[in-house]
């Protein structure tokens, strides 16, 4: 399952209803997300990062009653992760913030990027797979048209048309959603 807001929130809500399998699936999906979150913000050995990941997982588990089902799950999660990270900086000197404590408290870049990536994945999943693949290759992974066409096993003009149609459809969808 892809770790987008919708899916994580669904698992969290099922977990709150007492579904242990959903809860376990949620915690497993959070591991790579949290590792990325901490690696970008803290200098430390893999063990220290893993300690933080585990502390956050335990907090997510023991404090799960504080999640409000009406609100965004990722905002709740990253707020806990940020708190655990700052607490960790305070307690031990082994782990150091990369850009100073103040900035790491307020820098929302990774969080925003993650949320944006999740949104993009959501949007792409609404497109036909061929168009989604073409956009992902050329616009997200940064391949050239020739490389992407070769990787996809289709012609260059075919790929360009797919990207064009896909983007047009996404724009229409976003504008439709905003209205």
């Amino acid at each position: 399952m892809r770790a987008n807001e919708e899916a994580l929130r669904g698992l969290m809500i099922d977990g709150l209803a007492g579904d242990a399998a959903s809860h376990a699936a949620l915690l497993r999906l959070l591991v790579p997300l949290l590792r990325g979150f901490f690696r970008r913000r803290a200098n430390g050995s893999d063990d220290d990062i893993e300690d933080l990941v585990q502390e956050t997982l335990i907090a997510v588990h023991t404090r799960r009653a504080t999640y409000d089902r009406e609100r965004a799950f990722t905002a709740w999660l990253f707020a806990i992760a940020r708190y655990k990270m700052v607490d960790h900086f305070r307690r031990t000197c082994r782990l150091q913030p990369i850009e100073g404590l103040e900035e790491s408290l307020f820098a929302e870049d990774f969080e925003d990027a993650t949320t944006a990536r999740l949104d993009i994945e959501d949007l792409l999943s609404t497109l036909p797979p061929k168009q989604a693949r073409a956009i992902r290759a050329t616009r997200i992974e940064g391949l050239s048209v020739a490389e992407a066409a070769k990787a996809g096993g289709i012609g260059e003009s075919d790929l360009k048309v797919s990207v064009h149609r896909g983007l047009k459809m996404l724009i229409a969808r976003i504008q439709g959603g905003a209205r």
């Binding site: 007492g18 907090a59 009653a65 504080t66 707020a79």
Partner: protein, 213 residues
């Protein structure tokens, strides 16, 4: 421990969580603390002898309405600050409503009273002990809230401590109403509020130490 093992172990204990569990837990902490405070008032300070009569007048209900609405507004803050994603607080203006209303009543009261009596009205009979009693009665409620917070997830510890102190102070003042015979609005506005603010300050001071998790 390996992260996979940790997850397996955590997933063994997944009790269902009711909606509003956070609010219920805070309410329970306040209720338990308020019971202790009320017991202290009844046993140590004594219920005001004319309570039955006072409850038929408006002064008692103005006082009680002020402290109780302030307490509810403080709860709204505390509930928000008990959750990790509390960067943007909403409804803070609610705290100002009781203060503004009581100030209006106080001004009207002063206009009706000859200036020679203003000082007596403002100081009442108990201005020196009233704030301290409110503060003392707030302690059990604050402890009750600390118990509630043990399962909650505040990330702004100073603000959460202040909100908890404010709620404790305002509920303590609500309980104190059954003892205190003072009637004037400006008395309540000054000395009750002072006690409540003292409780909030102590909460803000202790929050970062006591609310860590």
């Amino acid at each position: 421990m390996n992260t996979d093992d940790l997850i397996t172990r955590l997933a063994k204990d997944v009790p269902p969580v009711r909606r509003g569990a956070t609010v219920m837990r805070l309410a329970l902490g306040i209720l338990l603390g308020a019971l202790v405070s009320a017991t202290v008032v009844v046993l140590a300070l004594g219920i005001r002898p004319d309570l039955g009569l006072a409850m038929r007048g408006t002064a008692f209900w103005i006082k009680w309405g002020y402290t109780f609405s302030l307490a509810l507004a403080a709860i709204v803050m505390t509930v928000q600050l008990a959750r990790p994603d509390s960067a943007r607080l909403r409804w803070t203006w609610l705290l100002a409503v009781p203060v503004v209303l009581l100030t209006g009543l106080g001004v009207a009261e002063l206009a009706r009273t000859p200036p020679a009596l203003w000082l007596a009205m403002w100081l009442g009979h108990s201005w020196m002990i009233c704030p301290w009693l409110v503060l003392a009665l707030a302690m059990p409620i604050f402890v009750g809230l600390l118990w509630s917070f043990r399962r909650l997830a505040p990330t702004r510890l100073r603000a959460a401590g202040a909100a908890a102190g404010l709620a404790a102070g305002a509920f303590a003042a609500t309980v104190y109403c059954i003892h205190c015979p003072e009637v004037s609005a400006i008395f309540v506005l000054t000395w009750y509020s002072l006690g409540i603010l003292l409780a909030a300050s102590i909460g803000a001071l202790l929050g970062p130490r006591l609310l860590r998790w």
